[in-house]
């Protein structure tokens, strides 16, 4: 009986470990070396945009190069290791799935709306311009869990060193040896002003999370 209880506890923890990667999704293949591969965020993991002047509201705030990601993808010998990279937005399961998480509202209970997740604009690029929509401002769909793909080519395996803007480098390699293809710079822009409706957002402190997922495919 005692050993049965031990086994049940073990299974409980095993279940947790198994689900550890569930948000990025488990890949169907097994050709890259998980132990040696890595995604590294070389910049701060908290980005704060404070709007405390009228001109910032009207003109917005752009943060260039606020996030830089470096990849190292190591293949298992003689296997076709191919990967994809994506961003997933989350509002921490905030009550309204389309909105930023409200940390605290400022001022009185006046009119105003909570910003939607698509208020944030992102621009991903690298030197070789291999990302999808490289250098273009993009927005998440206004729903928590929405995804923007950075590298995702289901057909071709483009090896490191190709450095072709028409191709998405997605083979084994590293930012140490192929920096221009295995590092990604992310710019952020927020403009809390609607050109038609004007200043509609309720003052307050809002938050969202972006998960960068490196995944074998």
């Amino acid at each position: 009986m005692r050993s049965s209880r031990f086994i049940l506890i073990f299974l409980f923890f095993a279940l947790f470990i198994d689900c550890g990667y569930s948000q990025c999704g488990m890949p169907p293949t097994n050709n890259c070396d998980q132990a040696l591969s890595d995604i590294v965020l070389t910049t701060p993991d908290r980005i704060e945009l404070i709007f405390d002047s009228f001109s910032e509201y009207k003109g917005g705030i752009t943060l260039n190069g606020s996030s830089i990601i470096r990849l190292k993808v190591i293949t298992i010998p003689a296997q076709p290791c191919k990967w994809k990279l994506s961003m997933i937005v989350s509002n921490n399961a905030w009550g309204v799935a389309t909105d930023w998480e409200t940390m605290v509202p400022y001022g009185g209970a006046g009119v105003g709306v909570t910003p939607a997740l698509d208020l944030l604009e992102l621009r991903v690029s690298n030197v070789c311009n291999t990302p999808i929509n490289s250098g273009l401002w993009q927005q998440f769909a206004p729903l928590t869990g929405s995804v923007i793909d950075i590298i995702n080519d289901p057909f071709l395996l483009t090896p490191a060193g190709t450095c072709n803007p028409a191709l998405q480098t997605n083979g084994a390699g590293s930012s140490l040896t192929n920096y221009n293809e295995f590092s990604f710079t992310i710019d952020y822009r927020l403009k809390p002003y609607d050109p038609i409706l004007g200043f509609i957002y309720r003052p307050g402190r809002y938050e969202l999370h972006i998960k960068f997922c490196l995944q074998e495919m």
């Binding site: 050993s3 086994i7 198994d18 998980q34 945009l49 006046g110 009119v111 809390p192 960068f212």
Partner: protein, 252 residues
């Protein structure tokens, strides 16, 4: 039962081992915080002291008008109301007397001058007036004294930061939550209008008419209830001061 559990444990362990050593999944996280602080900017241009010096009979009779003495410019990211309030150190009713000229012993010489003796005129109408039964703003033109309607008399209160009730004058907006001007600025075009022509820019004229004798016949509440000095009395010569505060507040 024990064998089944053992078998399940072995399978789970195999699963863990397979995840840890093979399929590539890795992630990094960034948290983005957006801090939207409410911006309410009121710029006032013009002198902070406005003097009315009455040293001619004609000035007593006709009063003194100071055109465009104050300009108010608003920039706001939230819906707002703007009002003016007159008060003194003694409260809402009377000016502060700083100096007495002459003997000052005449019992008919009154030193309690009504704050509502100050009249104002804004250059454009309140864009979002309340359902006031009286005057919703200071946009009425100055007309020849005496004026008994209360159309231009300043709102007086001993508590300047308590917004006027519905039925009192606002420069823009009103007491009710539905009476407000939306966020914006005189700096940017809204409906094609910007600068001094917009609802975010007001020019204020001032007028004081002492009358002869100096009873301030125009002094009245917004409902037109006179606050002039009683007949047979007159304003004691001297220096008087009062404060006009312009308050820009988030609509509530």
């Amino acid at each position: 039962m024990k064998k089944i559990l053992c078998g399940a444990a072995i399978l789970a362990a195999m699963g863990i081992s397979s995840n840890a050593n093979a399929q590539l999944v890795d992630e990094s996280n960034v948290t983005i915080t957006m801090d939207l602080q409410p911006i309410l900017q009121l710029n006032m241009t013009g002198p902070s002291n406005i003097d009315f010096v009455f040293d001619q009979i004609s000035e007593y009779v006709g009063g003194i008008t100071q055109y465009g003495a104050t300009s108010l410019q608003v920039s706001s990211t939230v819906s707002w109301d703007l009002y003016a309030v007159g008060y003194s150190s003694t409260g809402a009713a009377n000016w502060d007397q700083q100096v007495i000229y002459g003997g000052g012993a005449d019992p008919a010489a009154i030193d309690l001058l009504p704050i509502t003796a100050l009249e104002m005129r804004q250059d454009k109408a309140n864009p979002a007036p309340g359902a006031a039964t009286n005057f919703a703003d200071y946009n009425a033109a100055f007309v020849t004294s005496p004026v008994l309607t209360g159309s231009n008399n300043i709102y007086a209160s001993a508590t300047p930061y308590v917004r006027p009730v519905d039925g009192e004058k606002y420069i823009a907006g009103g007491n009710l939550a539905v009476d407000f001007v939306v966020g914006g600025s005189y700096l940017v075009a809204q409906a094609g209008i910007y600068g001094s022509g917009s609802s975010y820019y007001y020019t204020i004229d001032y007028r004081i008419v002492p009358g002869l004798p100096a009873t301030f016949p125009n002094a009245a509440s917004n409902a037109g209830v006179t606050a002039a000095l009683a007949p047979g009395t007159y304003a004691q010569p001297g220096v008087y001061t009062m404060n006009v505060k312009y308050v820009l507040t988030e609509n509530q």
